[in-house]
Amino acid sequence: MTNMINRFICIIFMLFLPALSGAADVIQGEVTQQPVNITAISMFLIFVTGTLGITYWAARRTKSTKDFYAAGGQITGLQNGLAIAGDYMSAASFLGISGLVFASGFDGLIYSIGFLVGWPIILFLLAERLRNLGKYTFADAVSYRLRPLPIRSLSACGTLTVVLLYLIAQMVGAGKLIQILFGLEYHYAVVIVGVLMVLYVTFGGMLATTWVQIIKAVLLLFGATFIALAVMYQMDFSFETLFVSAVEVHKSGINIMSPGGLVSDPVSAISLGLALMFGTAGLPHILMRFFTVPDAQEARKSVFFATGFIGYFYILTFIIGFGAIVLLVNNPEFLDPETGGILGGNNMAAIHLSQAVGGEVFLGFISAVAFATILAVVSGLTLSGASAISHDLYASVIRHGEVLEGEEIRVSRIATIILGIAAIFLGIIFEQQNVAYMVGLAFAIAASVNFPVLFLSMFWQRLTTRGAFIGGSIGLITAVLCMLFGPTIWVDILGNTKAIFPYKHPALFSMSAAFISIYIISRLDNSESGRAEALAFEDQYVRSQTGLGSEGSVQH
């Protein structure tokens, strides 16, 4: 449970922060462990004010559905690359991976690399085809030749499951962060994030979301670079010194220098690897970013920039994680006297380290940046979840495309509010989970539903609606069941003693189930419509390869 309890401060104080000094007094009166950091709060307020300003600016420019979902298709490759990096360098990456490195050393790198290698694959196989075929969501591309009703229903299910899982991870990060930063109760923190994200998305749409992500990406890259340099400065810029000092103080000793406990058996290792690599290519909020650029060329460039920024960032998180081991493990200032662990859990390693190397002011800066990170990512996720509801489910499935622009945006805004409430609720339930690990689960589902369907729709002529729908559903159900009966939920959360499904990472099984069943069912599908869909592949193929007739190109 939370260590910093402050029963008397309610969320009202956070939402009406001009009464800052008043709030500070109350916090000082109640909280013994975490005094209020005025610098941090000020920087956080500057960010919130700035981003709300951007949201106001974006809201005035957001008129059509294309503005709302795709920022009018006018984002450049570099901007989109930064925004993708911003989307991707989430709380899970920054706090979770540096926390993983802090807890188990080398193993943190396995996650980083898995997260990164999905990018080139997206570029080589999907990015430009997706850009050429789709409009606002990846389901647009899949339903180009397949029947929209079942395909969009399935894609929306896949999208919403992924979005909710990913949201949980972000919410947990946000809750812990504000807990440390303000000494505010976890639950309140989660509610604040939920409210702000709903404001950004409902009013500013994709344009506001994109700029929030760009700004936060720049701030985060700057902040992480500073921490890493400060750590290396203390180590005389010698990695040998860094690693030797870390091994000396870490409870696992020399084992942190090689693969170990986190990925203990071959099946889990391969399964995790598959989930991370192909999951990226199935993340709806990432795929959606390819529709914000004007053409396929810019789509490609954005992946190049994104890969560079993300790769650089992961190298920094590795240094940060080891720096945290050296500088925090024996420092009583950052330890929880009750548990002996680090205050706020391993995910807070990067935050504490920023204080250790840069003092209060820098702690304030990094806290504000980390908070901005979470807000930006949850906004992107929520927008993508809301589009699945409004564009795929409402406009296409329920209304068969007969829907007015204003109506679709309104449904999207209502969906955003519902998702906000769901995120708050789930964030509270999943308080004690490692955030990077929750993201791993989201990746497994993305890799088992969205990716197989999207990939086969572009590369395999014989794919039929029936195959995609049933096979994709099997992938989704397999992934969810394996998760539910696996060690994480069945044992850790529901408190059973033994897991029914023994592996933490289901992707190997659920991805195989999806691909095999899609293949078999498509092959067995001799229906009239199935044959017509195979025939329509030729047109789709030409369009996906040339961009002819695609959104934003020369009109039909």
Binding site: P120, M257, S258, Q297, R300, G547
Partner: protein, 106 residues
């Protein structure tokens, strides 16, 4: 539009281009997949390999430079692809489309 799609699909030059482009994409993808899964399989089946120090007596293990190499490789392969696609392939695609457009005007 469909008319144009049919015409392009019937053009052997288009298929030749796609063959070339597809081969290039899959080549780069295979290099990355091979490297990455070798990395993962070593972690799964022979993690002790990554525990061997690069220089005897020092602490940095092989796991670390190999991991950095995979990150670097991802970036380099992405760069190669974008450069080639945005210059050479896009021009060839444009030629094919132009060709089909002109033919349909006749």
């Amino acid at each position: 539009m469909q008319h144009l799609y049919r015409r392009i699909y019937a053009d052997p030059e288009f298929h030749e281009l796609e063959l070339k482009r597809g081969w290039f994409s899959w080549c780069l993808a295979s290099i990355l997949l091979f490297t990455y899964f070798t990395f993962i399989l070593i972690i799964a089946f022979a993690p002790h390999i990554f525990a061997i120090p690069v220089i005897e007596g020092q602490i940095i293990t092989w796991g670390i430079p190999v991991a950095l190499f995979v990150i670097f490789l991802s970036f380099v392969l992405t760069g190669i692809y974008v450069y080639r696609a945005n210059t050479k392939f896009d021009q060839l695609v444009k030629d094919v489309v132009e060709h089909a457009r002109n033919a349909s005007d006749d």
